[in-house]
Structures are given as C-alpha cells and as structure tokens.
C-alpha cells in the first residue's frame, strides 16, 4: 500500500539526511576549536610548563602540522569514536563519555519518565476539564515549579530526604560504587545484571531525588503544552463531526482529541529531552551527580580543548539522533508526515 511505501522512503531519507548533518556539526566543532586563539596545549598548560616542554608536547600531539592534516586525522578519530585524551588529566575522552555520559543519560531518562508521567495526565485532565480544580491547580503548579530554580528545589528536596534518611548526593554509596561491576555504566542496569538487590535499591534511592527535581521542573512546561494542545483539538472540526455522529464523549476525547493533541507534544518533548542531555548541569551540581554536563564545565574552566571538543561532538550527535528519533516517531503516528 501507499502507506508502507511512503513511510519507508521517509525513514530512509531522514536517516540518510542525518549523516551530512552530523558531518557539518562535527566540522563546525573542529573549526570553532581552531579559531580560538592558541593551540590546545598552550591553552591548557601554557602557564604551567616551560616553553620548551610545550613545544615538545605540541609536536607530539601534531599541532604543528597543516590544519587540513589535523582535520583529516580528527575525522578519523570521530569515525572510530576515539576522540583522543584530555590534555589536563590524560583521561581518554571515550571514557569520559562512557562514564559520565551514562550517568547523565540515566538521570535524564529517569527525570524524563517523571516528566511524562506527571505532565501528560495532568495536562490532559486540565485541558479536558478547563477551569476545573485540576486545571487551576495544574496551572499553578506548572508556573511555580518552573519558576523555582533547580538548586533551590534541590536543596528543599535534600532537606526533606535527609529527614527520612535517604541519600542526597552522588550516584551510589561509596562501597556500592566500588563493588559494582560496571558493564553498561548504567548503575540501575548494572546492579540488576549483578543480581545485587541491595545495590539496586541503593542506586535507585540515589537516582530518585535528582530525577524527581529535574523531572518536576520540566513537567511544568509539559502540563501547559499538553493542556493547550488538547484544548485546541477539542475545538477541532473533526471532534465536532464525531460528536455529530453520536460517538460517545469518552471516545471522542480519547480517540480523536488526545491523539491529535499529542502530535505536537512529541516534537517539543523530544527537543526538551535533547536539551536535558546537555543542560542538566545545575541538577548535577546540586546532587553531586557525576554527569557529563558538570564535567564539560570543569574542562571548559581548565581550557582543555580536546576534552571539550570530544564532549561537544557527542552532544551534537546526540541532538541529531534525538531529532531523528522525533521525526521517525511522528511519521509513525501522523500519516501526513511522509515523502510522496
């Protein structure tokens, strides 16, 4: 049928289009790093090492070569996912991304689940029963929670959690962290693989607080977004037409209004997710969460261009990947999103 054909073409085109996008992003990151004055070695270690030593290190790292050669080598690194070593602490960028990136991704996934679990039902109820108690309460909650700075909300949550003896910082208790076999670097997953229930509970407790704070903050936006979209679709022509055919109000709302209201929400939710991946720095700092955002800030402070370059490249790829995912999900839900 035409549907299958159209969808296949669409998916294929979108995936193929992502490749040049990534290429352009990667190139831009490279160029930005070279436009900045000085080379990575001088920038990071300039004040700490004698000039002779600096020259030696620059030569070792290949920064005396023509920029085109450096670019080709850099592309090779990106393709093989070997993004070099940080200048300041000789950590491989790959391990930064695996260890800290997984922490961020784990937090983001948990927080985002909370955002969806809170935002979508409240938003739908608020939009359906406009000006009712859920709508008024939901709107108030949305504004207040969004206006609260994360660190304030975080401190408040930490205060409450400490009263009941829940952990308030880090990814796991030190002993659990030390003992845990890190396979996926997702602690929740790793503790499950190990079958260690004590560790699992410990990790879950640590994850809960930052995920809750981050998730609730974003849920404010989600509530309002879902609410306003539902109000719009409830006034839609096809909704009135369905009512005119005697379809029950429940079916009209669930089958027609809800589904159509969620189409634009998917796009915005996906972009929120992408922003969370790189932008949860405040939450990470507040809860001492070893995420990639706080790591990026640290390397920026130290002017460690190699580490920054590697992390930014991964962010860029992640954002492209997430927006590709949004497009694909939208195409599956909305038949109009196809190439013909």
């Amino acid at each position: 049928m035409s549907r299958g054909g159209g969808l296949r073409t669409y998916v294929l085109t979108r995936v193929l289009l992502a490749i040049p996008t990534v290429f352009i992003l990667v190139t831009m990151v490279f160029l930005l790093m070279r436009v900045a004055p000085g080379d990575p070695i001088t920038a990071a270690l300039g004040a700490k090492l004698p000039a002779k030593e600096l020259e030696k290190r620059k030569k070792e790292a290949g920064y005396d070569r023509p920029i085109a050669d450096q670019y080709v080598e850099y592309l090779g690194q990106v393709v093989t996912l070997d993004l070099g070593e940080s200048v300041t602490d000789n950590r491989s960028v790959k391990s930064i991304i695996v260890e800290n990136g997984s922490a961020t991704l784990e937090l983001t996934l948990a927080a985002f689940s909370i955002t969806l679990l809170v935002g979508i039902p409240i938003g739908l109820l608020a939009g359906r029963f406009r000006d009712g108690p859920i709508d008024v309460g939901g709107r108030l909650f949305a504004i207040v929670i969004y206006a609260f700075p994360v660190f304030f909300l975080g401190f408040l949550a930490q205060l409450l959690a400490s009263k009941v003896g829940w952990p308030t910082s880090g990814r796991a208790s030190p002993i659990v962290d030390f003992d845990l076999d890190k396979i996926s670097y997702f602690y929740v997953l790793d503790s499950l693989i190990a079958g260690d229930w004590n560790a699992f509970w410990d990790v879950l407790q640590h994850l809960f607080l930052p995920a809750l704070v981050l998730g609730l903050t974003i849920s404010g936006v989600m509530i309002r977004l879902v609410r306003v979209n539902l109000m719009q679709t409830l006034r839609g022509d096809y909704v009135e037409a369905a009512r005119a055919r005697g379809i029950s109000e429940r079916r009209v709302v669930i089958n027609h209004a809800f589904r159509n209201a969620l189409v634009p929400v998917i796009t915005v939710a996906g972009l929120q997710f992408a922003i969370l991946l790189s932008g949860a720095v405040l939450t990470e700092e507040t809860f001492n969460w070893p995420g990639i955002g706080s790591e990026l800030i640290r390397y920026l402070d130290e002017r460690d261009y190699i580490a920054v370059q590697g992390i930014v490249v991964v962010f860029a790829i992640a954002v492209v990947f997430v927006s590709l995912l949004i497009d694909l999900v939208n195409a599956f839900i909305d038949p109009r999103v196809r190439y013909r």
């Binding site: 035409s2 037409a241 005119a244 055919r245 005697g246 379809i247 027609h256 159509n260 038949p335």
Partner: protein, 346 residues
C-alpha cells in the same frame, strides 16, 4: 400542495431560541424560529453570514457549546429533543439525525483511516456488527458516493476536498438517518463537485425518503434542490413557503433584495443591500430589517410584525403584508430615518 402538508412532519421546530451567554448581554443567534420538515422533503434555509443559520442547524441536534442555552421545542418523530437526556440525544445523532458540514477538509480525523471512521461510527450505534458486516456496509455507502473500495484504508489527506465531502456524506448516510441537516455542504467546493453533491442529496430524498434541511446562502441551490425555503434574517425566519412561490412572488423586502442580489449571465451591475447585518446582541427593535429596508414604514420601527400569509401561500413577517387592522394610525407613512453617519457605518 407541498410535501410537508402531505406527510406528517418528521421534524418540527417551534419557537426555538438559542442564546449564547457572553460576559455582557447574550447573543441571540436564533430568536423564536419555527419550521417543520416532512419525510422526503428538502427545506432550504437561506440568509446572510452570521444570521444564525448554522446555530439553528446545530441547535436542532443539541450540538451547541456549553455556554449556549436553548429554549422552545424541537420535536423529532414525536419526541421532544430540547431538554432530553444528553445520552439519549447522543444515541439519536447518527441513526436518526445526521449532520454534514461546510468545510470538508478538516472534518475527518487526520490520524485515522477512512475505515476507522466508519468502524467507529457503525460500532457506536450497532455494537453487535461483525467486521465483515461493517466492511460491507461502509463500502456500500462509499460506493454510493463514488469512492472506490481500494481507497478504504487510506487517510483523509490522501483525498481531495470534494471526495472528503462525499466521504462525510457517506459517513452520515451509512446509518440511514431520517433527517439530514446539511450546513453549507458545497460552499467550500467548486461547481462541478457542488452539482454532484446536490445530485446525491436529491437521490437521497427520492430513494430513502430522507428529510433534508439544506442550509445555504446560495439562492441558486435553493431553487434547484429545495421544495420549500425559509429565509432567515438576524436570528428570525422572515419568510417561508414553497420555493417556487417564494421566488416568483417574494413577500418580504429582504427576500426580494436577496433575489435581486443574485448574479446571472445577464447581470451587468451588482445589487446589494445597504448596511450590514445587525448585531445579535442588541438587534434593532420591532422589525429587525427596518434599518436596511427600502420599504420601511413608521410602524416597522415601532411594532414587531406578525406572521401573515403572502400571495404565494407563504408565511411572512412583514407589515407590508398586513394585517391591516393592526397597523396604528399613520403607521403606513414612510419611515423617516436618521442618516447613518459614515463613521458609524464603517
């Protein structure tokens, strides 16, 4: 003799009012309207934009927003619809009373196939239908509208406007309603498709004895497709009767002006009615048309006209048509009106 008088009326609306509550005064979209339609009869409801035609159509089915209040009486097949339990009324929408709309492009859910629309509609009213039967009846209804079965599983955006309107009609007809309210069904479509749709409506009344309320602002459509016509102005029906009689001998100045404003191949200049439709929040007193009426008399601004019988047997509300004995002395003098300031008109 018109069909309505031969058959018992299937839909009888009496003194219906629909007021929209706004923060200030209510909008009197429909203000004391009465008409009836018999089985197999087509009644055309004409009037300018914003005169309450669409509200009247929706109000008949109880499909109004919560802020609207309805009074009066709408009797379908002997049952009173105004004030009926919403659930009971909902079950009647579809199998008894169908409604098709003006803008076919946005009336189908874009995320659902045509098949799903039909399945949902049929299953809502006949929950025991099996899949084969749903399919058979849907395809039959679609075939009647000239939509081939190969397109059953397609999405709304894959159809043209005219096809979508035919699908909407098929969706309404698959339940065999006894009354079909068509709210400007051809306004958004080109003339070829318009002719198709009018043909479909004509077949309907011939083959299924369906009563049709055809809401339109196009007098040509009324002349072509309707047995009777009701002319609506500012929330009221000012003239109604046999379509041919009314068109041959319009008794109300508004009807006459409307007819004069239609264009044909011989038209050399545009006739129009001065002024604009009045506000329905604060309509003119007495006869609502008097500020724009070329024949207005002193009485027209003083007393609301009563219903009388016109030369063609139509019912009309206009003092020109009497009753003579009710017009006060001096009431026949031409109305002296204050000049409408240009600024006010703008």
């Amino acid at each position: 003799m018109s069909a309505a008088e031969e058959n018992a009326a299937i839909l009888e609306v009496a003194d219906m009012r629909v007021w929209y509550g706004t923060r200030g005064d209510p909008v009197r979209a429909v203000d004391g309207v009465s008409f009836s339609i018999g089985a197999g009869e087509t009644l055309g409801l004409v009037g300018e934009s914003g005169c309450g035609k669409s509200t009247l159509g929706r109000g008949t089915l109880g499909l109004l927003p919560p802020m609207a209040s309805v009074s009066g009486s709408v009797r379908y097949d002997g049952r009173e619809l105004v004030g009926m339990d919403p659930k009971e009324l909902r079950d009647m929408r579809g199998p008894e009373l169908g409604l098709i709309f003006q803008e076919p492009m946005t009336r189908l859910d874009p995320l659902q196939t045509i098949e799903k629309h039909f399945r949902e509609t049929l299953r809502t009213h006949e929950p025991d239908l099996d899949d084969d039967e749903v399919r058979r009846r849907s395809l039959e209804a679609l075939a009647g509208m000239g939509i081939p079965p190969t397109r059953f599983k397609q999405y709304p955006h894959e159809f043209s406007g005219g096809m979508r309107q035919r699908i909407m009609i098929a969706l309404a007809l698959v339940l065999n309603p006894k009354v079909l309210i068509a709210d400007e069904p051809t306004t958004a479509l080109d003339v070829i498709v318009e002719a198709q749709i009018l043909g479909i409506l004509a077949d309907l009344r011939r083959n299924f004895d369906t009563a049709v309320l055809l809401i339109t602002h196009n007098l040509g459509i009324v002349a072509e497709a309707c047995d009777r016509v009701a002319v609506m102005y500012a929330g009221e029906i000012v003239e109604q009767g046999d379509a041919r009689e009314v068109f041959a001998e319009p008794a109300h100045p508004y009807t006459r002006e409307l007819l004069r404003a239609t264009i044909s191949l011989e038209t050399t200049g545009l006739n129009y009615i001065d002024g604009a439709p009045p506000s329905l929040i604060d309509p003119p007193p007495a006869c609502r048309f008097h500020p724009r009426c070329p024949n207005a008399m002193a009485v027209c601004a003083e007393l609301a006209p009563e219903e009388t019988t016109g030369g063609g047997g139509q019912r009309v509300r206009c003092w020109l048509n009497g009753p003579e004995e009710r017009i006060p002395e001096g009431g026949r003098e031409p109305l002296e009106r204050e000049e409408i300031a240009a600024a006010e008109e703008a």
